[in-house]
């Protein structure tokens, strides 16, 4: 009796004739499956295609008015703030979290930069650093509550949104700092609003117009794309969002990763606050109220899964640009602005549906 316990069981004898294909990975795929597999590998492909198609359609319908360097770079300028906040949102969403406080952090940071300069007479560059510090600090608190106290990100940032927004109104006393005052005394606050042109005519009209804010958006997105793909920290962000328990057991310091993600998100939002001063010229405590919803929209249309661990920051950039293209394109066509919201609503739902479909490729 005991002898038959060593070696393969009798009933498994049939297995000796098995094909040795347990770990075989070449499978025949239909074209649809291949497409799905490709999308699974490169999640930013869908938003890129949608972006190119929508630019082509608006270009065909509107001609030169839309398909000019001036208009296309204008879109880039218009999405700069949402895109930068979206980069912050991307990091958080990749960890399967959500940050509802991004807009509030952005506004409070811009108010700190402005008020520190004008109320206390602190040199503007120092005030900018203070503003960035405030943003990072709020993000750190968010991260600590999420990682160490194990509170749900939705609740933590919902609360923080209210707290930061109220603090913003109380601290700023609802006062706007005018563009002209800033231009006269603290130009560095408006740095990201300054422009340079490529290919303008002699009168300085037309051509591609870039703000430093738009340049920052591109640089920031590329930097984050690099960090997420090519560094251990970036891989850990994905692992934590994918399956936090598995990541922890595999040796990822999940708490540290979460705290750094939220802190970085706060810092990037503060940076967006600086860019916003450049765009508006002024420091306005009522600005940016919808940045959280707009950034989540960009993230979702960009193909980043709200369940975490999937998607790329490039997709978010394409998502933000899609929204920008639709808003401006439809306006130039003279349609009621409500159509823009309607179409963006459809895009959001379509994006999530595509995400689900792609995820089936895994099964």
């Amino acid at each position: 009796m005991a002898t038959e316990t060593q070696g393969p069981q009798g009933f498994e004898a049939a297995l000796t004739r098995k094909p040795e294909a347990v770990a075989e990975f070449t499978q025949r795929r239909s074209p649809v499956q291949q497409a799905r597999h490709l999308l699974h590998q490169t999640p930013s492909l869908v938003p890129l295609i949608v972006l190119v198609v929508s630019i082509s359609i608006f270009g065909a319908l509107l001609g030169q008015k839309f398909f000019s360097a001036f208009t296309l770079t204008l879109i880039l300028q218009q999405v700069a703030i949402v895109g930068i906040v979206g980069a912050a949102q991307t990091l958080v969403v990749l960890t399967a979290g959500i940050d509802l406080s991004v807009g509030a952090i952005m506004v409070l940071s811009s108010v700190v930069m402005g008020q520190f300069t004008f109320r206390y007479g602190i040199p503007a560059p120092l005030s900018v650093l203070c503003g960035l510090g405030v943003g990072a600090a709020i993000g750190f608190v968010n991260g600590t509550l999420v990682a160490r106290m194990k509170l749900p990100p939705f609740i933590v940032t919902l609360g923080m949104w209210q707290i930061v927004l109220a603090a913003n109104f109380l601290y700023s006393r609802n006062e706007t700092i005018r563009s002209q005052d800033i231009a006269a005394e603290a130009q560095i606050l408006q740095f990201f609003g300054s422009t340079f042109r490529i290919g303008a005519d002699e009168a300085g009209r037309g051509g591609a117009v870039f703000t430093y804010g738009a340049v920052l958006l591109i640089v920031l997105v590329l930097l984050i794309a690099y960090v997420l793909r090519q560094t251990a920290w970036g891989r850990h962000v994905y692992a934590v969002g994918d399956d936090p328990e598995a990541a922890e057991l595999a040796g990822v310091q999940t708490k540290t990763v979460l705290v750094t993600v939220y802190t970085l998100s706060g810092l990037i939002c503060a940076l967006a606050g600086w860019v916003m001063i450049g765009r508006l010229g002024s420091v306005s405590p009522t600005a940016g109220q919808f940045a959280n919803i707009e950034s989540i929209t960009a993230v979702v249309i960009g193909g980043i899964s709200l369940f975490g661990g999937r998607g790329s920051v490039l997709g978010m950039l394409f998502g933000a640009l899609i929204v920008g293209v639709f808003s401006l394109g439809l306006k130039l066509m003279g349609t009621d602005p409500q159509w823009t919201y309607l179409l963006i609503g459809i895009l959001i739902i379509a994006a999530v549906a595509v995400d689900q479909w792609i995820r089936k490729a895994a099964a």
Binding site: R178, T195, R279, L280, G281, S284, P285, T286, P337
Partner: protein, 340 residues
């Protein structure tokens, strides 16, 4: 049994006697604004609070969270009814939707006064203290026409309005401006149906800097040669100016606006805005509180300004480039009267 009844009645009488003086001393009133973040309403609250203190009225303030938050306003009115207030000052977010709730308050014997924004219909309130927004628009329209002179005939006009839902203040200011400038209005109850080729287009700004800049950029993409910009308020004007500045056209475009907030008046002084129509929220609030005091005293209801279905709290054109035929005050005087 009868003795108990008498005793109870005695008690009730004593309670009534002791309560009555307290009621007579303290007149309760409510101020319900659209938000408590917009400087316009902040100023309105200041004016109301100061006047209430002067007249010995106990004023409580409520506000919606954001513009358009009508539910908070409904809850506030219900609170005021329960609180036994004598009067309510209301800047309605939803001018139609809140009417039934306002009626409940009036049925409870409360004087309801609309401030700044009339209810729809306007007689749903006992009185309306507001700026004549059509006149405010007309003044800047007339000024812009006179300022441009012959060029007005070829003007390229951008219209930066408030919102797609076209609230009454939005329509009145825009249509007033167009009438003042000499444009055929089409339907005076909505903007956007004019056929005058001088109008490049309409866009909405939500009345803030970001919206102003975005709308200006869109309209400039349609016609880069815009040279006259109407804006719903001064933050939108500031945003439009930034858009113009980024393409180097800030000095050859005329911007007109409505509001008269202190940053706006300062922008008139700095030449950012050509002219703005100034309104007076402090005045609205103060008059409203006085009306409640008068009503509490002897039941008088506020009278409307002659020829109008509301009480006009005044409007003045603020500009440092006065033109013939349009009365105006300069930015220095405007700065003395400004709010926020």
């Amino acid at each position: 049994m009868t003795r108990l009844k008498i005793a109870l009645m005695g008690c009730a009488g004593a309670l009534a006697l002791s309560a009555a003086p307290a009621l007579a001393q303290e007149v309760g009133a409510c101020l319900i604004t659209k938000t408590d973040t917009n400087p316009f309403f902040v100023k309105m609250k200041e004016g109301a609070t100061a006047k209430a203190q002067e007249l010995g009225i106990n004023l409580k303030s409520y506000a919606g969270r954001i513009d358009g938050d009508s539910e908070s306003q409904v809850a506030a009115i219900e609170t005021c009814i329960a609180d036994g207030a004598k009067g309510i000052l209301l800047t309605p977010s939803d001018t139609k939707g809140i009417v039934p709730t306002v009626q409940k308050a009036r049925d409870a014997g409360i004087l309801v006064i609309a401030l700044d924004t009339p209810l729809d219909p306007i007689d749903a309130a006992d009185g309306t203290f507001a700026t004549d927004n059509f006149l405010a628009g007309e003044l800047i329209g007339q000024w812009a026409q006179a300022k441009m002179g012959d060029a007005a005939a070829d003007a390229r006009i951008a219209m930066l309005n408030l919102g797609v839902s076209q609230p009454s203040v939005d329509v009145l200011r825009a249509q007033g401006f167009l009438q003042g400038f000499g444009v055929d209005l089409g339907d005076p109850n909505r903007w956007g149906d004019e056929t005058d080729p001088r109008i490049v287009g309409h866009d909405v700004t939500d009345g803030n800097e970001e919206g102003g800049r975005r709308a200006m950029e869109s309209l400039l993409a349609q016609d880069p040669m815009i040279n006259l910009v109407y804006t719903i308020n001064e933050p939108a004007a500031a945003g439009a100016y930034e858009a113009l500045r980024s393409i180097g056209r800030e000095s050859d475009v005329l911007i007109v606006s409505v509001d008269g907030g202190c940053p706006g008046v300062q922008n008139v002084k700095d030449g950012v805005i050509g002219a703005t129509s100034q309104q007076y929220p402090l005045q609205m609030a103060a008059l409203g509180v006085e009306a409640i005091a008068a009503f509490a005293k002897d039941g008088t209801r506020p009278a409307t300004t002659e020829g109008k279905d509301f009480t006009d709290t005044g409007v003045a054109l603020v500009t440092d480039q006065p033109v013939e035929g349009v009365e105006s005050i300069d930015s220095a005087r405007g700065a003395e009267l400004c709010w926020g």
